[in-house]
């Protein structure tokens, strides 16, 4: 069932509510209500339809407002006659097609005969409670009246609906009366004053309406996933991070931004990436395995989804200098690539040890015009490269944007990176519908370094209880060997790189050195979303050793002709550890290709 939030008035509040992704937002152009809309509509997602509400208004005024505010629908809330509706239905004066919603007010009973003359001249009906005012009275009518609904036209259910009605709505949804109920319309019951909506109650309502457990797995308004996340940054970074926090959702919702992002993902990255049914692998493990082919993206991994998004963001914020950290060099290459594409200066920090063991990627970055700066402190790997990038940002607070490469760092980074990577699960949904006739698999599986490919793969399934989430960490030489990166097992709560999350540390709070054969999983923490998924039990965490991962990588090469990155091989190795049912649909994020790891594979298997 769709949701319409009506009576929007204030710019900030509109943006806040829009971030909850309702299907319709209503603006009342009737002057005799305190919710009268008289400002501008800020840029909001194109997926949200803007509805203008009018009461016995001149048709010319309606046409004017629709064109001025780029409305997608009009709601006629007075005694508009069928003939009047037909004028609006047929006029050519609207700049784009407009849906017409005709309102009828119901007291205790209703004579449905009146609907017939409106059937042909409007797209939806809306049933509201009859009261003193035309709408916004705050009372509910007896929904069982709708048992006699004679039409097949979809309708909106309105009138005094609040969070207390959740159970009634659920009951209603099961009843015959709801057969043509298309949307729920809410207004006054979510207000702190007329026109001002309380977005946290609204969020709770939406979660409950969609049968999500009350648990929210997305970031909250303060930047936390449950108890994890936040922005634990020195004051020197506050202006940068705050600028980003205030702008990222706004920028991402701009139609121009979305268009440019989508276009680059399509033409430059090569999206959509295929969802490939791995027949021989499926036969071997007697279940249905699909591989989401992020390895086929330009530069060979999912990392570029995020760097495309962030470079566009950096440009919108007027930044001219880009910095990044990298471990294996995949994110460094993806960043250097988009900097070349946009003609921006690029500095990549990389641990001295990683520079030595990932020479091809270092050469790639240099060829793309980036400067690679060795991180010489600490253990001289990914964690230290991240420290150096943060220090660079402290020293260059005005012109520089830091493109973090995983779903880590201070808020809003984990959420921003997740949203850019969410294209992965967005595609899985329609691809799976095409191939399996359903959007939801039984499991989604991804490896976790900081957790960006995982966050993108899970994103649209987080609140779908029938989809199991499996997170695969690197166990290194074994979880108890002292040489491991299995954060969910070995870590506990703490602060790393600006967020509260699970991390590997000493009793004294010093961050410890992880180990994994895969440089991309060799990180002592996980992103805060994953810490929350682990703590709440929403995701099942598994740890895979170096040797099991290497074998799984070789197996995929032999069975399917795909050489995966060693990071990805960890996710593939779970089939040897966990038994799935024959008709289970398991989607694995094939996060990257193995070209960068050939040397490792060759050494390991003495090829």
């Amino acid at each position: 069932m769709k949701l319409k939030v009506c009576g929007m008035k204030y710019q900030d509040n509109i943006e806040q509510v829009a971030s909850l992704q309702p299907d319709y937002l209503g603006f009342i152009f009737y002057e005799k209500t305190p919710r009268h809309f008289d400002t501008k509509i800020p840029e909001i997602s194109e997926d949200i339809k803007k509805v203008g509400v009018f009461v016995n208004e001149e048709a010319s005024t309606i046409i004017e407002k629709v064109n001025e505010f780029e409305l997608d629908a009009i709601q006629l809330h007075g005694e508009e006659a069928p003939f009047y509706c037909s004028i609006l239905k047929t006029t050519k004066l609207f700049n784009k097609p407009v849906e017409i919603i005709k309102v009828f007010s119901i007291k205790d009973e209703f004579n449905f005969d009146v609907l017939e003359q409106y059937e042909a001249v409007c797209d939806y009906f809306l049933f509201d409670t009859k009261g003193k005012l035309p709408g916004g009275n705050g009372y509910i009518f007896d929904w069982s009246v709708l048992n006699d609904y004679p039409s097949t036209k979809p309708f909106f259910l309105s009138g005094g609906i609040g969070i207390d009605q959740i159970e009634d709505i659920k009951k209603f949804k099961k009843s015959e009366a709801s057969k043509y109920c298309y949307a729920i319309d809410v207004n006054s019951k979510f207000e702190t004053e007329p026109g001002l909506k309380n977005s946290s109650i609204l969020r709770e309502f939406i979660n409950k309406l969609h049968n999500r457990k009350t648990m929210n797995y997305n970031v909250d308004e303060k930047g936390y996933y449950g108890e994890f996340g936040g922005a634990f940054i020195p004051e020197m970074l506050y202006p940068n991070v705050e600028e980003l926090r205030q702008n990222y959702l706004k920028v991402m919702a701009e139609p121009n931004f979305q268009k440019e992002f989508d276009q680059l993902l399509k033409d430059y990255v090569g999206r959509p990436s295929p969802l490939y049914f791995a027949k021989r692998l499926s036969e071997k493990y007697n279940t249905k395995i699909y591989l989401k082919r992020e390895d086929l993206n330009h530069t060979g991994a999912h990392k570029i989804n995020n760097t495309i998004g962030q470079i566009l963001m950096a440009k919108r914020l007027g930044k001219t200098r880009i910095i990044a950290e990298t471990g294996a060099g995949q994110h460094g290459v993806a960043t250097a690539t988009v900097c070349a594409l946009m003609g921006l200066e690029c500095i990549v920090y990389m641990g001295e040890i990683d520079i030595a063991r990932q020479a091809p990627n270092v050469a790639r970055m240099k060829m793309l015009g980036a400067t690679v700066v060795p991180a010489l402190s600490g253990s001289r790997t990914l964690k230290d490269a991240t420290n150096e990038a943060i220090r660079d940002w402290i020293n260059n607070p005005v012109d520089t944007h830091y493109i973090i490469g995983s779903a880590i760092g201070p808020h809003p980074y984990p959420d921003m990176v997740t949203r850019f990577q969410a294209v992965i699960s967005e595609e899985i949904k329609w691809q799976l519908r095409e191939q399996e006739g359903r959007e939801n698999p039984d499991y989604v599986v991804a490896c976790i370094g900081g957790g960006s490919n995982a966050a993108g793969t899970y994103y649209h399934y987080l609140h779908e209880p029938d989809v199991g989430i499996i997170a695969v960490e690197a166990a290194g030489l074994g979880v108890d060997s002292g040489e491991s990166a299995a954060t969910s097992v070995l870590g506990n709560e703490g602060i790393i790189h600006g967020c509260k999350t699970l991390l590997m540390q000493t009793k004294d709070g010093q961050i410890t050195e992880p180990y994994s054969i895969s440089a991309g999983l060799d990180y002592p923490g996980v992103g805060p979303m994953h810490a929350h998924l682990s703590k709440t039990g929403r995701a099942e965490f598994m740890s895979i050793t170096d040797s099991d991962a290497m074998e799984a990588g070789l197996e995929l090469s032999k069975l399917e002709g795909i050489i995966p990155a060693i990071e990805t091989s960890h996710a593939l190795a779970i089939f040897g550890k966990k038994q799935f049912k024959p008709d289970d649909v398991v989607v694995v994020s094939l996060s990257g290709r193995g070209d960068k790891d050939l040397e490792n594979y060759i050494d390991y298997f003495k090829i």
Binding site: N387, R391, I394, H497, D508, I511
Partner: protein, 262 residues
């Protein structure tokens, strides 16, 4: 109780003295694990007004190479919160000037914020500087605990901090404000230019409730004198750490004399 403990706090008393204050940062447990207390004593003996005892952290984001290296070395020497507290057990028998612990949040978080604060009070520590504990998180979760144990929390401001935020930080502070001299990590630089002195002047004219102490980039008599034209005091960190790296822990007098007397 709140007012009582703050009246007694050595930081507030020191700030009332009619002089410019020299504060020195050093890394605890460096160059050698047992140098901590002797360095504190020598700093006081040679006329330093306030001390920041650096609790080393594995990943000091806001620090330049000098303090990073001293922190790594101190950790290798075996420094921990526990060890530092043991070393400071009797420090108040011989030392009277304000002592502040400066460190990153994670080690305190692991120790337990309340237990950490309680221990600080017991040992006679007067305040804390925690660069990666943001003002809002402090205000929401920890201010009551700090106040319960009579500890002053010192916040940083930078040239990029807005006036509005400076006023907010001023309203939450009850000791001094740590003015970071320029957008940078710690580490000595040579002299201050117009950009910095304009910023110092701008802040001086805001007429804040809390006095300001300038840090980052103060390294010698010249920069100390320059900074204290605009502020109540100045903090030297990296330059001092470099000095003890080169000349050892018993060379404190030479450094302090040179800063104070040129």
């Amino acid at each position: 109780m709140k007012n009582y403990s703050f009246k007694m706090n050595r930081i507030n008393q020191k700030l009332q003295e009619d002089k410019k204050l020299l504060s020195i940062y050093f890394t605890a447990g460096y160059p050698n694990i047992d140098d901590t207390v002797s360095i504190i004593q020598d700093l006081e003996k040679n006329g330093v007004d306030m001390i920041e005892i650096g609790l080393p952290f594995s990943d000091p984001l806001a620090d330049g190479p000098t303090i990073q290296d001293s922190s790594t070395a101190a950790l290798k020497n075996g420094m921990t919160s526990e060890v530092l507290f043991k070393q400071l057990k009797d420090v108040r028998k011989t030392v009277n000037i304000p002592l502040i612990i400066m460190g990153y949040f994670n080690p305190m978080f692991q120790y337990g914020v309340e237990a950490f604060c309680e221990k600080c009070q017991e040992l006679g520590i007067d305040g804390l500087i925690i660069p990666d504990l943001p003002v809002d998180v402090y205000h929401e979760h920890y201010q009551d605990i700090f106040e319960k144990y009579g500890l002053i929390n010192v916040f940083l401001i930078t040239p990029q901090t807005s006036d509005e935020r400076i006023r907010y930080i001023d309203s939450i502070s009850n000791g001094f404000i740590y003015m970071v001299s320029s957008a940078s990590t710690t580490g000595a630089q040579s002299g201050f230019g117009n950009v910095q002195t304009d910023y110092f002047e701008r802040i001086a004219q805001m007429d804040l409730k809390n006095p300001q102490v300038i840090g980052f980039g103060i390294s010698n008599n010249e920069t100390f004198t320059q900074a204290t034209q605009y502020a109540k005091g100045a903090i030297i960190g990296s330059a001092f750490v470099k000095h003890v790296t080169k000349y050892g822990a018993n060379s404190v007098d030479a450094f302090v004399n040179k800063v104070l007397n040129g």
